[in-house]
Each structure stands twice: as C-alpha cells, then as structure tokens.
Symmetry: C2
Subunit: 326 residues, 2 copies
C-alpha cells in the first residue's frame, strides 16, 4: 500500500447556493420545514426564486463545502461532483479550485444546468434549503476514478448522494475502491429527512462500509429510529470506527473504540448556520489527517463551524488556518 497523496477526497452534489433572508411567515406560507432540505423541481425552483428577496450566490454543496474548508486548513483535498458547462458551473469550479481543491470531474454538456440550492435564512440564523439537483443527477460511476479514490487517505461521502440514483451507485463503487486500497470511508448523514427517505440503505451503508460517521442529533436519531440520543450514540459506536455526533451549541461527542470525548462548541454570534456541519467535518478530518488526537480533531471542527456560522454563506471568510493555530 503506497502512501496517500490526498488527505481527503470528497464526493457530493456540486451546487451553487442562492442565499436570501426570509421571515418565518414566508416559510410557513409555503409549507417549508425550517432547518430542513427538500428537493425541488425546475418549476418549483423557479416559482420559489421569483418569490424570494434579492440573493447572494456562492459555491455550496455539502461535501464540496467540507473539501473547501479542509483545503483552507491545509489538507490535500480532491472533489468529485457534476456541474454543467454553464456560468454557475464555472463559478463552482473556479471557487473550489481557487481554494486549492483538485476537481477533475468534467462538466455536463447539453443536459440540465448546474444545481442550485435556494436557501432561506430566518432571523434566528437557521437555514432552510430547497435544492434543484440539475446536472448532479448525471453524476455516475463513470465519474469515479478508482485511482483518485485509492490515493486519498479518506473518501468522504455526503448522505444527500442517496437522492440522485446514479450517484448512489457511484459512491458505493467509491467505497469499494477505497477499502480495496486500504483507505477509510467517511459518511455524513446530511439531513434527517434524507435519512428518512433512504433509511434501510443508510443503515446498511453505515454498518458495512463506513469507518467514520458524521451526524447531528436529528440525523442520528432518524437513522436509528429512536428519540434517545445515548441509545443512538451507542448504536453508532458499534457500527463504525469513529462516530462524530454534533449537537449545535452543545458541542460534539466523539466515540471511538470505547473512548468518548465531549468537545465544547466555540462561542460565536450566529448569523447563518448554512454549512455548519460541513465545516465541522472539515476541521475534524483536516486535524485527523495530521494524526492529531480526537479531542483536538473536535476542537478544529468546532472552530471551523463557528467561523462559517458567523457570516452569510457556507465557505470560510476568515483565515481558518490561523484560527485553529491560536
């Protein structure tokens, strides 16, 4: 087994975020569940966009956000995901490459446009996401180069990939390639409703293919169909090598081989929670790639998450490398 030349290879939906402020009443009037992610059709996306206030566009996507933050923290990172050959696709590709992430997936030509996520940010800082998958549904096994997977210490998959059917096959192939090369597979559950849509598949994938699991409280409860956090945590600890459970302002719990670490959240003023979990995973994995102890991995995660929730948008604006070095 050769030494990995990437610390992290993320696989996920390649999405441009459109962020706009919204009042709770705007969500209620449209039956949108605050804090969740729902998939929308072209028509629904157009109707919602037409009703939304002026927005700000920035690159997003769960695993892509994680890759961007991990690269900003000094990790060697690659990302696989499908944009279209259009203006928003150029924006996505520019942003992820400009932060130092290797992004080899060719853009889709002549198909659906680049995916976008219409994100409504309520005054409490919560984000409610409406995702039009666009070109992401064209991401398939052919986009997963086993050699790229084999050169990464960890392949990182977002749970949202359970939604586009071809992507599911692609990331199963990636997991097999990673394990065949002696690498680790990390998974983030992404969203409690996404877990609910594909629970059996998630449970099997977690038990059989996942080495490092990231989940927030709602997601891990949804996965194991319980309302008892400790029970869910114990089940996760049996299924995977490292379970990393985030609990918003209550910090995070890391379970690994009988160890249990509780890490405090970094205090900050919450402006927009978009990308909080993605940034936490980035901090954790960037520290883990350096061989740092688990509590320190959690501290990096908390610092990265605090940075992205202190402003609009899911990608860091401050020098996160300097923040973790303090």
């Amino acid at each position: 087994m050769t030494a990995p030349t990437l610390d992290l290879l993320g696989i996920g939906n390649a999405i441009v975020d459109v962020l706009a402020p919204a009042e709770d009443g705007f969500l209620a009037a449209r039956g949108l569940a605050k804090g969740g992610m729902r998939l929308v059709s072209t028509e629904e996306a157009e109707a919602l966009y037409a009703a939304m206030p002026p927005g700000v566009e920035s690159s997003g996507g769960s695993a892509a956000n994680t890759c961007a933050v991990a690269a900003a923290l000094g990790a060697r990172v690659g990302f696989l995901g499908k944009v279209a050959k259009d203006q928003l696709g150029e924006v996505f590709a520019h942003d992820i490459r400009a932060i130092g992430v290797h992004f080899p997936t060719p853009p889709l030509e002549g198909g659906a446009p680049t995916a976008r996520c219409l994100i409504l940010v309520t005054p409490d800082g919560q984000r409610t996401m409406n995702t039009y998958l666009g070109a992401c549904v064209a991401f398939g096994e052919a986009d997963v180069d086993a050699a790229e997977v084999a050169r990464a210490r960890v392949v990182y998959l977002e749970g949202y990939l359970f939604d586009p059917p071809a992507a599911q096959a692609a990331f199963r192939a990636a997991a097999r390639a990673a394990h065949a090369a002696g690498r680790q597979v990390a998974l983030t559950l992404s969203d409690p409703f996404c877990v609910g849509r594909h629970r059996a598949a998630f449970r099997a994938f977690v038990a059989e293919e996942t080495d490092i699991l990231f989940a927030n409280e709602a997601e891990i409860l949804s996965l194991y169909e319980t309302d008892d956090f400790e029970q869910a945590a114990a089940l996760a600890a049996k299924d995977v090598t490292i379970a990393v459970l985030t609990r918003s302002e209550r910090g995070s719990v890391i379970l690994a081989g009988g160890e249990r670490h509780v890490v405090a959240a970094q205090p900050t003023k919450v402006v927009d929670t978009t990308g909080a979990g993605d940034a936490y995973a980035a901090g954790f994995l960037a520290a883990h790639a350096r061989g740092l102890p688990l509590p320190e991995c959690g501290r990096w995660g908390s610092i990265a998450a605090a940075e992205v929730i202190s402003h609009y948008g899911a990608r860091p604006q401050a020098d996160v490398k300097e923040l973790v070095a303090r």
Copy 2:
C-alpha cells in the same frame, strides 16, 4: 405636466459583481490601481478570475445599486440596463425586481454574456474593480423609452455609461426626454479615471444637462482638473442646481443656490466600500423625492452608505428604511 409615477429612473450598466478578498501585493503584482475601476477584455477577465480567490456573486452596477437601495427606502424606482439572456442575467433581473424596481429592458440574445465586475477587496476595506462590460455594450437609444423617462421625477445616470459608446447616445437621449417632460437629470461621476477618459464630454454634460450632480472628492477634482476641493466645489455649484460631494469618513457637502450644508458620515466598521457612493445617492434621492430638506437628504445618504460598507457587497442587508426612521 402630469405628476411623476416614479421617483427615480436609473440608467446604467447591468452588472453582476464577483467579490473576493485580496492582499495589496495581489493588486501590485498585476498593476491594479487600488480603489479604481478599469475595463477589462474577455481574456483579461478570464485570466484575473483564474488567479482570484473564491468569490461571492451578487448583483451590482452603480446606478442599479442606487435603484435597489432607493427602492428599499420606499422610493418608486425603475431601471434601464442590458443583461444577456443567461444565468447571471437572470440573477441580476431577479434581484432588482425582487427589491421592487421596475426593470423593463429586454435581455440581449445571442450576443455577449451578462457583464461582470471582478472586485478585489483589500484588508483596508477598499475595493478595486475590473469590469467586463459584456452585454452592456449593446445598450442603446432603442432601450430608452421616452415615456418611461417622462414618468420619473428624476432620471439618474452613471458616469460609467460614458464608456460603452452606444450608451452615451442613449443617456443623452434620456436627458433630452427628461427635460422635455419637465423632469430633472441627476448624474454621478462614478470614477476619477472614467472622468479622465471622457473629461470634455463630462464637463459639457454637467454644464448643459445635469441638475443634480453626485461626485466624490477624487472625481470632482478630476472633472475640474484642480487639486483644490473648494475651487472644484464652487465650479460644480455654478454648473448644477444641486451639487452633492461625498468625502468618505469626512462626510458630505451639499451645495444648492447659495446654500451649503456639511453632513457628517455615519460611523461604522468598514468591511467593504463597494457601493458606498451608490448607496449615498440612493438615500439622498429617496429623501429628496419626499421633499425632505437637503441636510436630511444627506443624512439618509450617509446612513445608507454606512449600511453597505459594513458588510461584503453593494446591496443592503439590513432594513435601511428602519435605519433612516430611527
């Protein structure tokens, strides 16, 4: 003369901004003059974008920013400007309409893409702009509907329109239509280098067609080719009915028919000066449309400017209507 049904009709370049942080060394290495605006070709724009850090996209354009802020302040506003029929054009059109601005100009089909401005924001909050005009060069006289102009109390023109040749003809036509209908013409000088490129044309237009002039210190000095602010201010006061001269943290000076008002800047933490002058003009004109006294118009301008320089991007994030009401 019928009563105006719009308070303000802006005419300007329809641009999407791409904002990214940059160190002073990044500007120096590329010979970019900090604080200025330069026009770039497709090739220059691509090369600069490739070298830039990850960005954030939001609607921009000088007069368009003014229209957006004025609408947010409760003014009845229209905007004329040319986007292409593409994704960034849709973003621009969505954002300006979502804030309540009437935007009737049809998009350009089959020509250049929507204009974008690559804006580098240095740690001191200064912005340095690199504009690819794209579809804006197709804006011409045919896009100026005299009936739209006639229904606005004030037609507001950005000096940047001196750059695309067809736009110059278009805004001269707009000025004639406005005066024929008994309306006022406002002009912002936009940029000292733009004034330098077209000084004779600017001087003639200010003297012959402009009722309300907006300029910052560098621009008014460039217009009258002097380094004496008081001399420039006196010349401006002779040329126009109301001269509004902004001086960054030193506030603004308003000259009108022998009156002279000095208005303090609103204290704020400067994050990004993009759009400061645009927002000032919006506040001034929105208050002026309500018949408020000139010092109050200046106060609205200062408050609106302080809001947009306190965060990334040229469009307001806070409720500016509430800010001026305090």
